[in-house]
């Protein structure tokens, strides 16, 4: 039985200033959406072509909670494999309303342009007036120039030339697309922004059943204690009583949610259909400052501000950081640059993840990310429990079998969420939405029981093959085996190398990969 997913691909040729529409019904059957469609497309075009591809997921725009995510991918020539950055905001919803599940960007324009997609109608606009505008101003400008408040955008700001390699994009003006420097791809294509709007909706035949189902899910998510804390106190970081995030201060008054709410929070924002609402508008000393989901950073800067009385400098720091820097890869360089520009000294206390200057969260395969780092180094048992939703006693939770099981579980549900368009927050960091929830929602909407875990496993295999990844890529940095962890239950201890290898071997068996971690099919 085929899925009724009749969405299309929009190809934007920047060189010719032309657009094409393709039906991708067959691809959607196998690769579902999001990252799955992106990697499938990249797998079938020449690696020499400078192509960036954006896809959203089938659940986006349906009302399913936390389904608002889209994914941008490219073949990264420096790294030698395809890379993806996910993002929230309203862009995915508008893509679906315009009738597209995928947008392909190819070719290079001679001058700076922005593209406006109005359902099937595409226009290319000269954008020199936007050259010096940041992403939020660009978003506002496009809405005003085209006189439509429903337009959603992704755009690049105005990064300094030195930082262009790491320039990030923004969705809806303030939701960062902050991995792998996709801002540079936009600039190289002469593309300042894409604006999109649409009139199409998504018909839901079993509407009463679907509304009843998502009503329960909305309630479940809203009543989760962590979600309540995020809403009431502003940040996951406030859960962090042990300061494993390495906040610059251990003084509760400086880092507490109460302080944030009292002095800095100016407004809140959520992605479409999200009952969590992690978005923040932060205002420091009356200066309109920062918005988006990275409020931990803003808070970090706010705490610094008090300590160093650096408000104006830090305002600049917020702007620069948000406009051009991947906060996970280049913090040190960024910090040094800011210090040099302003002739100041900034303490290094935020870099919790010291792995040869490259934190694990950067790992392109996403096999090992922040959650797993916490889980496998046992930095914080409570956090580990949250990540895997495991009720086992501590001594059982960390045996080889359970570690490998949790690794597979997290990998599959994260991959699945990347195909369906679900925010990672309620999937892995605050695991409220389960695979069963996704499957049930999908079944009610599309009337078919699809083996979604099998599709997700297929995508993991495809990504691994495309990147030629093997066991060598799964080994952790030596630092983790040699340098004791600083915080949490494992403070003073370090990771057991043989335990890690045993876990990996068992994990490979579970994934039906060979002993070197290579997919067999």
């Amino acid at each position: 039985m085929s899925l009724p997913l009749k969405w299309s691909r929009l190809i934007l040729d920047m060189k010719e200033k032309k657009s094409y529409i393709e039906n991708i019904e067959n691809e959607v059957q196998e690769y579902i959406g999001g990252k799955g469609l992106n990697l499938y497309y990249l797998n079938h075009v020449s690696m020499d072509e400078d192509i960036a591809v954006i896809s959203t997921g089938p659940l986006v725009g349906t009302g399913f909670p936390c389904a608002s995510f889209s994914y941008i991918s490219k073949y990264d020539k420096k790294l030698g494999y395809p890379v993806t950055s996910c993002f929230g905001g309203g862009f995915g919803l508008s893509m679906k309303m315009a009738g597209f599940v995928q947008i392909v960007l190819k070719g290079k324009s001679k001058g700076l342009l922005y593209v406006f997609v109005d359902n099937e109608k595409v226009s290319f606009h000269e954008a020199s007036a936007l050259k010096d505008k940041n992403a939020l101003l660009t978003d506002t400008y496009i809405r005003e120039e085209l006189d439509d408040r429903d337009i959603e955008t992704i755009s690049i700001g105005n990064p300094p030339v030195d930082f262009l390699d790491h320039a990030i994009l923004f969705s809806s003006g303030n939701w960062p697309i902050n991995r792998f420097g996709f801002g540079k791809d936009f600039i190289e294509k002469g593309l300042k922004a894409i604006g999109i709007r649409g009139d199409k909706g998504f018909n839901i035949e079993a509407k009463d059943k679907f509304l009843g189902y998502i009503s329960n899910l909305f309630r479940k998510i809203s009543e989760d204690n962590i979600v309540k804390t995020i809403k009431n106190k502003g940040s996951l970081a406030f859960l962090d009583k042990k300061n494993v995030y390495g906040f610059p201060s251990n003084i509760p008054e400086e880092i507490s949610g109460k302080t944030y709410l009292k002095f800095f929070e100016a407004g809140r924002e959520a992605c479409p259909s999200c009952p969590i609402g992690c978005g923040k508008f932060t205002n420091i000393n009356g200066i309109a400052s920062s918005s988006g989901p990275l409020f931990e950073e803003v808070l970090f800067l706010a705490a610094h501000m008090k300590e160093k009385k650096l408000d104006t400098i830090l305002m600049e720091a917020i702007r620069m950081r948000r406009e051009c820097i991947d906060p996970f890869i280049l913090f040190t360089e960024y910090r040094d640059a800011i210090a040099k520009i302003h002739n100041i000294e900034i303490e290094e206390r935020y870099n919790t993840f010291k792995v040869k200057g490259m934190p694990l969260s950067f790992d392109p395969r996403r096999l090992i990310d922040l959650s797993l780092y916490c889980a496998f180094t046992i930095q914080d048992y409570d956090y580990f429990q949250l990540c895997i939703g495991m009720d086992a006693p501590q001594e059982d939770a960390f045996n080889k079998e359970n570690r490998a099981t949790s690794l597979k579980k997290i990998l599959i549900i994260k991959t699945l969420s990347d195909m369906l368009g679900i925010c990672p927050l309620p999937i892995s960091r605050v695991p409220v939405i389960t695979v069963e929830d996704l499957k049930e929602g999908f079944k009610i909407l599309f009337g078919d029981e699809v083996a979604l875990e099998v599709k997700a496993k297929g995508l993991v295999d495809m990504e691994r093959k495309m990147g030629h990844f093997s066991k060598m890529d799964d080994m952790l940095d030596d630092t983790l085996y040699e340098v004791p962890t600083e915080y949490g239950d494992m403070a003073g201890k370090y990771l057991d190398r043989s335990m890690w290898e045993d876990t990996l071997n068992r994990f490979y068996e579970m994934m039906e990969w060979d002993s070197q971690g290579r997919p067999q099919r």
Binding site: G63, G90, M97, N174, G201, K207, L211, S222, G267, P275
Partner: protein, 157 residues
């Protein structure tokens, strides 16, 4: 219960859950354009304002409608459009001080909130308490109380 949807814009996050679930409930279609409630957004400052029919005591839309398509449902007090009579002239949109009515993209007739028969779906899905279904008199009472909270804090801590 006869009541209205009261709006607390300070709590709105522009999540659009109200809009999408409204459109699903009424038209079986997830689309903000089919929603009877619409959020107006000023993204640059993070200000959001849900706009929905307030079921006025003397609705200008009823008075101006040339075909008498705008009617009040007695059981709920909701002022709605009889689409069998509506000709899509948009007079009600111009007459309404909030422009609460919208054109339904499928029927091309106007549409406004019908309070879902007295149990508004949008309110159930708003997890930020930005909209609530209350008796009309409560709107003023709640606002007064919220305002007095500031004074209470100043006087009593």
């Amino acid at each position: 219960m006869e009541g209205i949807i009261a709006v607390n814009p300070e709590k709105c996050t522009n999540c659009k859950a109200c809009e999408i679930t409204c459109s699903i409930y009424h038209d079986g279609k997830a689309s903000i354009h089919n929603s009877r409630i619409r959020v107006q957004a000023w993204k640059d400052v993070g200000a959001y304002f849900p706009v929905v029919c307030q079921n006025c005591d003397k609705p200008a839309c009823i008075e101006i409608c040339p075909t008498k398509a705008r009617i009040r449902i007695e059981s709920t007090g909701a002022v709605v459009t009889d689409i069998d009579v509506c000709v899509g002239c948009k007079s009600c949109i111009y007459a309404c001080p909030f422009a609460a009515p919208s054109i339904n993209p499928d029927t091309k007739k106007t549409m406004t909130c019908d309070l879902c028969g007295g149990d508004p779906v949008c309110v159930k899905f708003c997890k930020y308490n930005a909209i609530s279904f209350v008796p009309s008199y409560k709107v003023a009472v709640n606002k007064k109380r919220a305002h007095s909270e500031v004074l209470k804090k100043a006087l009593k801590g």
